[in-house]
C-alpha cells in the first residue's frame, strides 16, 4: 500500500555501463511505479508544493489525474502552466522547489513530483494520436506580433504562453539548432534529444515560427524588430560568456571552457564519426569548478573515453554548488574530487598543449559575501597535477551582444538586463527580457518562471496599447 509508504526510487542505468554511453541515466518510472507514487500524495488543501514551483504547476490536480489513470489529462493539466514538462521533470532541482514544501517531507520523504511530471509528459509524447488539437484562446489576437530572441527555456515559455493566448510569435535563434542551453548545455544522458525535439515540436504546434541562424544584435537590432511591425520583443539571450581562470598558461591548447566542451559534444556531437567537428580523445581530464555544468563536463568526459576525470575545486564538499544528485551521479561513475585545491598556472608541453596544472592547497577562512567560507591559499603548498585536458567550468556572464547593440537599454554593472519584476519589461517600452540574460546563470525553471511573467507582461502591454 502506497499511502504512507516509502518514496519510489528512480531506476537508473548501472553506473559502470552508463559511464560509457550517452543513453539516459535515469530511466523513468513505470506505470506501476507512477500509480504507486501518486497514491502517496495526500492531495492536501494547502498544497504548499505549488508555491514552490516557479511556474505554478497545478501539482495536486495532475497527481489526482494520475490516480485516476488519466495520464494524458495529467499532462494537459501540467501544460496549462508549463510548456516543457518532459524537460522540467528531468532537470528541475525539485528538492529545492515543489518537493521541498511537500508536507510528507516534514516527517519522511516528499512525493516524487518531478518523476511523476516526467512520467505523464513522456506518456503523452509517446501517444501521438492522443494529442488534443490546439485552438488559441482568442484568434483575433493573431494580428499582434511578438518577437522572441533566443530559443532557450525562457523564450520557449514566452512563445508558448503567448501563442496559446492567440498572438503571432516569431522566435530567433543564433545557432543552427533550437533549444539554447537545453541543446548545447545539458547532455543527452540527462535530457535525450528526442525529448527536447518533442517539446520544441509542441511549441511549434501552437503556431510559433522558429527561425535559426539569426543573431539579433548583428543580423539586425532589437529596435529594428520594434520598428518593423512587432508589438513587443522578448530577449531571452541567456548567459553565454564563459568565465575563465585568468591565470598564466590558460591559452594552451587542450584547455576548454565548460561551454566549449559541452558545445562540441552536445551541439556538434564531436564524439561521433558522423559529425565533422573534432575533439581529441582525452586521457586525464581536470574539471575546474563544482557546479552543475562542471558535473556535466566530468560525465561527458567519461563518456568520450577519458581514463580519469578529476574535479578540482577550491572550497570543500559542503560548498559545492551542484545538485546533490548530480554530485552523487558523477561520483558513482568514477569522478574523483580534489577539494580545497586551486590551480595557480597551466603548464604546456612543446606542442603548446596542456600537460599539467600547478595547484595550491586551500583552507577555509571566514565566510564571504556568498555566506560560504572563503578559501585561502596555503603558502608553499604548490604541487602539480598531470592532465591532457582541462575544462574550466566557473560559470558565465550574460552574453553582451544585446546590451552593447541596443542603445539606451539599462543594464546592471555586471551586464544583466534590468527589468520591472512585475512585468518583465525593460526601460524601453515594448522590450521585455528574462532568464539568464537578466539574472546571470541560474536554472532552467527560473528562466521559465521569468518567461511566464514576461508573457503576462507582454499580453497586458499589447492589450493596453490597443485598448483591447
Amino acid at each position: 500500500m502506497a499511502k504512507g509508504g516509502p518514496r519510489n526510487p528512480m531506476p537508473h542505468q548501472d553506473p559502470k555501463v552508463r559511464a560509457t554511453n550517452f543513453e539516459e541515466v535515469a530511466m523513468g518510472y513505470t506505470e506501476a511505479m507512477a500509480l504507486d507514487e501518486a497514491q502517496r500524495c495526500l492531495g492536501c488543501k494547502a498544497h504548499p508544493c505549488v508555491k514552490g514551483c516557479p511556474v505554478n504547476v497545478h501539482i495536486p490536480d495532475f497527481i489526482a489525474k494520475i490516480k485516476d489513470g488519466d495520464y494524458i489529462g495529467a499532462s494537459e493539466e501540467i501544460k496549462l502552466t508549463n510548456a516543457l514538462p518532459s524537460v522540467c521533470g528531468r532537470v528541475c532541482p525539485q528538492e529545492n522547489q515543489c518537493e521541498k514544501h511537500c508536507i510528507l517531507g516534514i516527517k519522511g520523504e516528499p512525493v516524487a513530483i518531478g518523476r511523476l511530471e516526467r512520467f505523464v509528459a513522456d506518456y503523452q509524447a509517446a501517444s501521438e494520436k492522443e494529442k488534443p488539437e490546439f485552438k488559441p484562446l482568442d484568434a483575433s489576437l493573431a494580428k499582434y506580433k511578438v518577437a522572441v530572441v533566443g530559443t532557450g527555456p525562457s523564450g520557449l515559455t514566452v512563445a508558448a504562453d503567448l501563442a496559446k493566448l492567440g498572438y503571432s510569435v516569431t522566435m530567433f535563434e543564433a545557432l543552427h539548432k533550437i533549444g539554447g542551453v537545453l541543446r548545447y548545455g545539458i547532455p543527452e544522458f540527462r535530457l535525450p534529444r528526442t525529448v527536447l525535439d518533442a517539446e520544441i515540436d509542441y511549441v511549434k504546434s501552437l503556431g510559433v515560427t522558429i527561425l535559426p541562424n539569426i543573431i539579433v544584435g548583428r543580423t539586425f537590432k532589437v529596435k529594428d524588430l520594434l520598428e518593423q511591425g512587432y508589438d513587443a520583443v522578448f530577449v531571452g539571450s541567456g548567459a553565454g560568456a564563459p568565465k575563465m581562470m585568468k591565470i598564466p598558461g590558460e591559452g594552451a591548447a587542450g584547455i576548454y571552457s565548460g561551454n566549449e566542451w559541452l558545445t562540441r559534444i552536445n551541439l556538434m556531437r564531436a564524439y561521433s564519426d558522423d559529425y565533422d567537428t573534432p575533439i581529441r580523445k582525452p586521457k586525464k581530464v581536470c574539471v575546474i569548478g563544482a557546479g552543475n555544468t562542471a558535473m556535466d563536463c566530468t560525465r561527458t568526459a567519461l563518456r568520450v573515453g577519458a581514463e580519469s576525470v578529476t574535479i578540482v575545486y577550491r572550497r570543500g564538499r559542503e560548498e559545492m554548488p551542484a545538485r546533490a544528485e548530480e554530485i552523487e551521479n558523477a561520483e558513482e561513475e568514477g569522478v574523483v574530487f580534489k577539494l580545497l585545491t586551486n590551480p595557480k598556472r597551466f603548464i604546456a608541453d612543446e606542442d603548446g598543449a596542456v600537460c599539467a596544472m600547478e595547484c595550491l592547497k586551500m583552507e577555509l577562512g571566514e565566510p564571504d559575501d556568498s555566506g560560504r567560507r572563503r578559501p585561502v591559499p596555503v603558502e608553499g603548498s604548490e604541487f602539480n597535477i598531470e592532465c591532457d585536458t582541462v575544462i574550466v567550468a566557473l560559470g558565465q556572464n550574460p552574453n553582451p551582444l544585446i546590451r552593447t547593440t541596443t542603445e539606451g537599454l539599462e543594464c546592471q554593472s555586471w551586464g544583466g538586463i534590468i527589468i520591472d519584476e512585475e512585468t518583465g519589461m525593460t526601460n524601453i517600452p515594448g522590450l521585455f527580457a528574462g532568464g539568464d540574460a537578466v539574472t546571470g546563470e541560474a536554472t532552467v525553471i527560473l528562466a521559465m518562471g521569468a518567461g511566464k511573467v514576461a508573457a503576462k507582461g507582454i499580453d497586458n502591454y499589447i492589450k493596453s496599447k490597443y485598448n483591447l
Partner: protein
C-alpha cells in the same frame, strides 16, 4: 523596391524567404572558390572585416568565412574560401542553385575604418578576400591607399583588379617570382616604410605572414592591424574556443575581433592552438577525398 526587400521586412520573415541559395560560383584559382549566396538580412548589415559562419547541415561543422563582398540591393553576400580541409572541400562541391542550410552573421566587429592618412592594406593568399573590402573602405574614407597582394605563385594571385582599382599604389609579390616582384609582402612593405610616411598597416593572410608584417612595422612604430582566423565553433562569444592572448589578456576572436593590434598578439600560442586538431582534420579530409565520409 526589389521583392527580396519586402520579404525581408522583419515582420514577414519565413524560413523560405531566408533560404541561402547560391546565385553565382567562380573558381578563382585551383584552390580558391568564390560563392555569391542569397542572404538578404546579412547583405544589409555586413561591413568590411566581418565574417559569417556557414553550416552545411546535420553532421557538418560551423565554419567561419569572411564576407568579401555584400550587395544589399541584390540581397547577396560573397564568400571566398580556400579548399583546404574536409568542410571547405565539401562546400566547394556546391553549385549555383544549391541551398546552404545555414549562414549566420555578420559576426565580429567591423574593421575600424577612419581617415588617418596613408594606409597600406596587405592581402596574402586567401586573405586577399578579406583585404579587398577593407581596402575599398579605407579608400572610400579619403585615405591614400596602397595595396600589396602576396601569393606563392602566379596561379594563386586572386582579386588583382579589385585590389588595384581603389588603390593609389598597387604591388604584387610572389614567392617564386612568377608574377610581380619576387619575394614576400614584407620586402615591399619595408621599401614603402623607408620611402614614405605610413600611418596605418592592415594585414590579413597566413599567420606567419601577419607575424612578420608586425615585425617589419615595429621599428617604424606604425600601427598595424591584423585580422585573425582562430578556430571557432559558435562564433557568438559563447564558447571561448577562439581565444587568443592579446596584450597579455585573453580575447575572443569572434566577438572582440577578428581585428587586433598585431604588435600585441601572442603569435606562437595562436599557431599552436590552430594546430591542435591537425591529425583529426587530416583524417577527415582523407576520408572525404576517398569518398568515405557519411
Amino acid at each position: 523596391m526589389n521583392t527580396h526587400c519586402e520579404n525581408c521586412n522583419l515582420a514577414n520573415l519565413t524560413p523560405d524567404s531566408l533560404r541561402n541559395v547560391i546565385v553565382a560560383k567562380e573558381e578563382l584559382s585551383p584552390v580558391l572558390t568564390s560563392l555569391e549566396i542569397s542572404a538578404p538580412l546579412i547583405a544589409r548589415s555586413a561591413k568590411a572585416g566581418q565574417f559569417v559562419i556557414v553550416y552545411m547541415g546535420e553532421g557538418g561543422e560551423r565554419i567561419p568565412l569572411t564576407v568579401s563582398d555584400s550587395d544589399p540591393e541584390k540581397g547577396t553576400v560573397t564568400i571566398i574560401f580556400q579548399k583546404v580541409g574536409k568542410s571547405t572541400l565539401e562546400l566547394g562541391t556546391y553549385n549555383v542553385g544549391d541551398v546552404i542550410e545555414g549562414i549566420v552573421g555578420p559576426l565580429g566587429k567591423p574593421t575600424d575604418v577612419e581617415k588617418v592618412g596613408t594606409v597600406v592594406v596587405i592581402g596574402g593568399g586567401v586573405g586577399t578576400a578579406i583585404a579587398m573590402p577593407v581596402a575599398k573602405a579605407f579608400a572610400a574614407s579619403g585615405n591614400k591607399l596602397i595595396t600589396i597582394l602576396g601569393a606563392r605563385s602566379k596561379d594563386l594571385v586572386i582579386l588583382e583588379d579589385k585590389m588595384r582599382e581603389p588603390a593609389d599604389e598597387f604591388y604584387v609579390t610572389t614567392d617564386d617570382g612568377s608574377y610581380g616582384r619576387k619575394g614576400l609582402v614584407t620586402d615591399q612593405l619595408k621599401d614603402l616604410l623607408d620611402s614614405q610616411k605610413i600611418d596605418l598597416v592592415f594585414a590579413v593572410g597566413p599567420l606567419p605572414m601577419m607575424k612578420f608584417v608586425c615585425k617589419t612595422t615595429k621599428p617604424y612604430n606604425v600601427p598595424t592591424i591584423v585580422s585573425l582566423d582562430a578556430l571557432m565553433i559558435d562564433g557568438t562569444g559563447m564558447c571561448g574556443g577562439c581565444r587568443v592572448t592579446v596584450g597579455g589578456k585573453p580575447m575572443f576572436t569572434c566577438v572582440d575581433g577578428p581585428d587586433f593590434d598585431g604588435q600585441e598578439v601572442d603569435w606562437d600560442e595562436l599557431a599552436l592552438r590552430k594546430r591542435y586538431y591537425f591529425e583529426e582534420e587530416k583524417e577527415a579530409k582523407e576520408k572525404f577525398l576517398a569518398g568515405g565520409n557519411k
